[in-house]
Symmetry: C2
Subunit: 687 residues, 2 copies
């Protein structure tokens, strides 16, 4: 039983009133859910979750995910009541410039927020990644401890809304969570059946509980609505607490369907779409305050007894939990010196020494190999050196070369297959054909904090997971998206599978690095640079073999700069510069040879990552692309957009601005104008 | 009962052998599913579907959707056997340059293909749109006919794979199909439990039937595998036929779970991932042929009796069905002169006359209104004039202004809500919070051929539905995506909701028009131009009010050209040109005024659609943007990428290259540098 005192109940009602007041003051926002979910949120912070406001990054803390991010007040008010650092003035500054209380929760911006949410479905999907990471981390550090006894045991708690449940990505992630038997995950689904178009019945009538049972989840339903009519509304927090406690020791993920009335107990706007995303208005708020015994003339009214109680009681609860955990943690450190050293390195966000030496080097070779194949070799070489690195593919392991040779699959023991062995603490991830889910799960893994995830699919399907890449960028997570089959060079699968616009479309995402290595050595170097940067990156790799360039030039120091002189003009001063990426670098090298035969001094710049190059000093940029050299040609098997910036008015752009076709790669490159002759002609035109 | 003769069975086995041979000849492709699904596909073409190879665009035909598009041979071989125009040489040319048999089926390229598929989930999701469109079309033309008696009645048949079922978008579309009670939709789900990573159990263990029951579908399971072991494999086509026939008269969509063995009866590669996406090899194919009584030394062996029988029997069946339908159709035309006239117009892909006059005109007004609000008024004005136009929103009707005032909702009668009334033949669509599903459903509606669909969400969530926009572009469908809240101007919802990179990211999609009107009149003009073009377009609209410019200039004739001179320089010869789109046009106008005060002759070019402008004559382009004027400034509240092409080396770009923030719009525009002063300074720098 929750055992709430009158002051706890007053605290919950205070949360409702603060939500209404804050939205009213700003003039916009989402009051309804913050009001009706106030008891559930308070219960989580004060009775359920193992957290410590004084140590918000505590290794052993439970995680809280507000998947319905529009209801950010649900979290902000609890952070205020719990003592995470938010004060009344912060709530008053809701959704205003520079405030700690932006429209949607932002990790790294507001203490106590674990994840940036808002785009519906994303929080729930990423929570599955958090739960997977918790299990993997436990497996890395404390695999033999009894369940619940390890300092690495903790639980993921999610509040989700009708919108989250409708989104396709929660299907993907929830199906995988059920498959993975993630007993460390509890989703409280606020089934208030109201969204922006009012009653969700207009578009949403599925049996959600049955659907989640089909995924293999435990499903519990707690119906505060009674017969659905507000007159019988009873917020039975004891029942919710009991369900939460059951879920903590479950062997499968739990969905708690909590049937609420949005904006309860707002007198006329409860249970309506009007209370979802608009200020309630002064009259309605006055009615609300009267109903709850607050002074309708006051705003942001918080009793001193309330705030004193909520902060003190949580502090005491946290202290006790922390003390208990510290004993376990110290014992673990003592017994696991190697593990403790590794943990300290990971907490410090440091990489192991000797990364440069760990990756393979490939001799120059005209035949070469596909960069996806090179990437597979690099990952295998890194396996023992970088234990925090793990990942897999959305059912394209063999095509994406995302498996580190010999590493076990991350899979319940009973779900191993003839092709894949492993266990619950394994390392090779199998996402199924669920690209967007994969992307958000990768984000969740990175948010969990100790490991470094990657996940693969075809580059064309970056479209499916684009919103995940964007959220990785917004949150600045060290996630690597491995996107292979990165051009028409994939050949016969045709236009639906050939990325044309994707390199450009990904480059426009702010704070996201698009990396397209030209050969095996650039691929190895790219992995090292990506790991060192610890930023979101998309690694775009070829299906087809690419010639291996001189390893003394295509090396980490150069690749990490984003662009470098792969081949200097014979005279030392170029007449023309060819700028190429990925599979087109070899083409540029052939063209350069032909140009030089014609006495045109030609420099080839390999540009594996524009974003990295843009972060270099102006002097380095000038060295690689001297302003004086106006004759420039870019060569990339993608749309032209973006290249004018680099080649200038006088430059030429070799690109493809239409969909591809189904044929072998050699035919496509020839038919679509990616030939040395075309590059030579463009260079001459540019001169 | 199917009543297959020996020659029918031989035809099915011929299909298996052709699939193996075709992939082997090309050296790559997907033989396994085409082999094991051969009986199901043959049954559909020869016993189930109402189709006529001689009239592939027959208005009354059933539709076939191969959602597992990688198994294109499943369809190509049936098109060959059925007499749709494909011959053996086409099968031999599988996946080669210029062939009629590309890697994945392409509508408009191969006769008999109704939809381009390949990206998993997309076919199934679009089939839901086809089923919705069938119901809407029936409602427009023949609402009172008894079920099954109307020439507008037909059925949608889908073959789907494990991958389709895993994808999030099929969750979204299937949930909506169940909600909409689409009895005209049957999905045969080929549950072969093999994907590229071999046994799907590695990532996929949900109870699919239960999940679809939760959506409100009829679910039938037909288990050809028996106990799962190949030795008891029985292809019971009679059971499948009976399930198909039941589904044709159902009042809800039907999922037939067909448990098969992939690549059956390939001797050693059946039931393995190796048979999914690779050539089987000569030895394996020899074994297959021996097992089926074919000569292992021959390739592409088709008995003359087989091809004669399959084409003739289907021809006869088609003739009978067509005859029956013609009677109904003629009777309907006779009784419905107005309907017939409308139908003829729609079949001819013509628009009604007087579209220019039908849309409202807005007087110049410094305060103006939001372009999303203008769009709502335009849609309402078009409602009676363009009956084929219909659409809705992914739960943002009020925000997207996508509802034509007074039009009924498209919804089963029992699912009307207090806010939305309507019926099964209604016009206002409610997609729920399912953006990607919405996008693919819109494509399916457009593919159905008679109506013109649109669907709305926030521009930032174009990321969720990007793969749908791409498929609309590949298929050149007349779909309009209404994307509102198109910049930081949406304000307080903050970075997760503020599109920054989206305009650029959408512009890079080939054959897709990104339209961003500057005011109410440009919005009206944009709708007219979009309808006339009948191409995929994204209409990007503001949340905030925008000043209404001179309606005599911001008019259809100008807007349809993609860019035009909104304000000419006082001297008639500009010193500088400001190029702006959407909400930044007003800003450019203010800046121009300031520049002119400083004696700098300034032209303002409004550019609502770059793609339309690029399709104009060089002379028109030169008129608007004379080469001689090098001083140019672009102004758009999005990333800079792409603008260098238009402003040149000497130009300046006013843009935003980082994520937004949560605050009111005015603050954001000011803080992020969208002010007349900044534009003036940039113009001076450019001079």
């Amino acid at each position: 039983k929750a055992g709430w005192s009158d002051v706890d109940i007053r605290a919950v009602d205070t949360a409702r009133v603060l939500a209404a007041d804050a939205v009213q003051k700003t003039g916009n926002g989402h009051p309804g859910t913050a009001m009706s979910l106030a008891p559930a949120a308070y219960l989580l912070y004060h009775n359920v979750m193992r957290i410590d406001p004084a140590d918000p990054h505590w290794l052993g803390r439970d995680r809280f995910v507000l998947s319905c991010g529009h209801s950010s007040l649900t979290q902000y008010i609890q952070l205020y009541l719990s003592g995470y650092g938010l004060e009344l003035d912060d709530l008053k500054a809701l959704r205003t410039w520079g405030s700690l209380t932006p429209g949607h929760p932002e990790v790294g911006h507001t203490t106590g927020v674990e994840i940036t949410t808002g785009p519906l479905g994303s929080g729930l999907a990423s929570s599955v990644g958090m739960a997977m990471a918790q299990r993997r981390q436990r497996g890395m550090f404390d695999p033999n401890a009894k369940k619940g006894s390890s300092p690495f045991d903790h639980h993921i708690w999610v509040l989700a809304s009708d919108g989250d449940i409708m989104e396709g990505v929660t299907h993907e992630a929830s199906a995988l969570a059920g498959h993975q038997e993630l007993g460390n995950l509890t989703v409280i689904y606020d089934q208030n059946t109201i969204s922006i178009e009012d009653k969700t019945e207009i578009s949403f009538s599925e049996d959600v509980g049955k659907r989640y049972e089909a995924y293999g989840w435990n499903v519990e339903t707690i119906n505060w609505r009674g017969d659905g009519n507000g007159s019988t509304y009873v917020e039975d927090v004891d029942a919710l607490l009991a369900a939460c406690e059951r879920s903590r020791s479950a062997s499968r993920p739990t969905l708690i369907i909590l049937r609420t009335i949005i904006a309860w107990p707002s007198p006329t706007k409860q249970d309506t779409g009007k209370s979802h995303g608009s200020a309630l208005g002064d009259a309605e708020i006055a009615g609300l305050k009267e109903a709850l015994g607050f002074d309708p003339k006051k705003t942001f009214e918080v009793g001193r007894d309330v705030i004193t109680h909520t902060r003190r009681s949580l502090k005491e609860r946290a202290k006790a939990a922390k003390k208990e955990w510290d004993v376990d943690y110290k014992a673990w450190r003592k017994a696991n010196a190697d593990g403790a050293a590794l943990l300290d390195r990971l907490v410090a966000k440091e990489l192991p020494a000797g990364l440069d030496k760990a990756v393979p080097s490939f001799p120059a070779d005209a035949k070469g190999l596909a960069t996806r194949a090179a990437s597979g070799k690099v990952l295998t070489a890194l396996a023992d050196v970088v234990p925090e690195l793990w990942g897999g593919s959305a059912d394209l392991a063999e095509s994406n070369n995302t498996t580190m040779d010999g590493q076990p699959s991350f899979i319940p023991t009973g779900k191993q297959t003839r092709e894949w062995s492993g266990g619950p603490y394994g390392r090779t991830l199998h996402f199924g054909i669920r690209e967007f889910g994969m992307g958000l799960i990768l984000n969740g893994i990175a948010l969990q904090g100790l490991t470094r995830p990657y996940g693969g699919t075809f580059l064309v399907f970056s479209d499916y997971m684009r919103a995940a890449a964007r959220l990785a960028a917004i949150q600045q997570l060290g996630v690597t998206f491995v996107w292979t089959h990165d051009s028409i060079g994939l050949g016969e699968d045709g236009p639906t599978h050939q990325p044309i616009e994707h390199l450009a479309a990904l480059r426009v995402i702010p704070d996201f690095d698009v990396v397209r290595p030209a050969d095996a050595n650039e691929t190895a170097a790219a992995w090292v640079a990506i790991l060192r940067n610890d930023r979101p990156a998309g690694l775009c790799l070829s299906r087809q073999a690419l010639p291996t360039q001189d390893p003394k030039v295509a090396k980490i120091a150069n690749v990490a700069k984003g662009a470098y002189i792969l081949r200097e003009a014979s005279t030392g001063t170029p007449d023309v510069i060819l700028i190429a990426t990925g599979s087109e670098v070899g083409l540029a090298m052939s063209a350069a040879e032909a140009l030089e035969k014609g006495k045109i001094a030609t420099r080839v710049v390999s540009m594996p990552c524009r974003e990295w190059f843009e972060r270099q000093s102006k002097s380095y940029q000038e060295k690689v692309l001297p302003t004086a050299v106006k004759a420039r040609v870019s060569v990339e098997a993608g749309v032209p957009m973006g290249w004018r910036e680099l080649v200038g008015d006088a430059g030429e752009i070799i690109a493809i601005d239409h969909f591809g076709a189904s044929a072998d790669a050699a035919t496509l490159f020839r038919e679509f104008g990616f030939t040395p002759e075309k590059v030579v002609a463009a260079a001459k035109k540019s001169l």
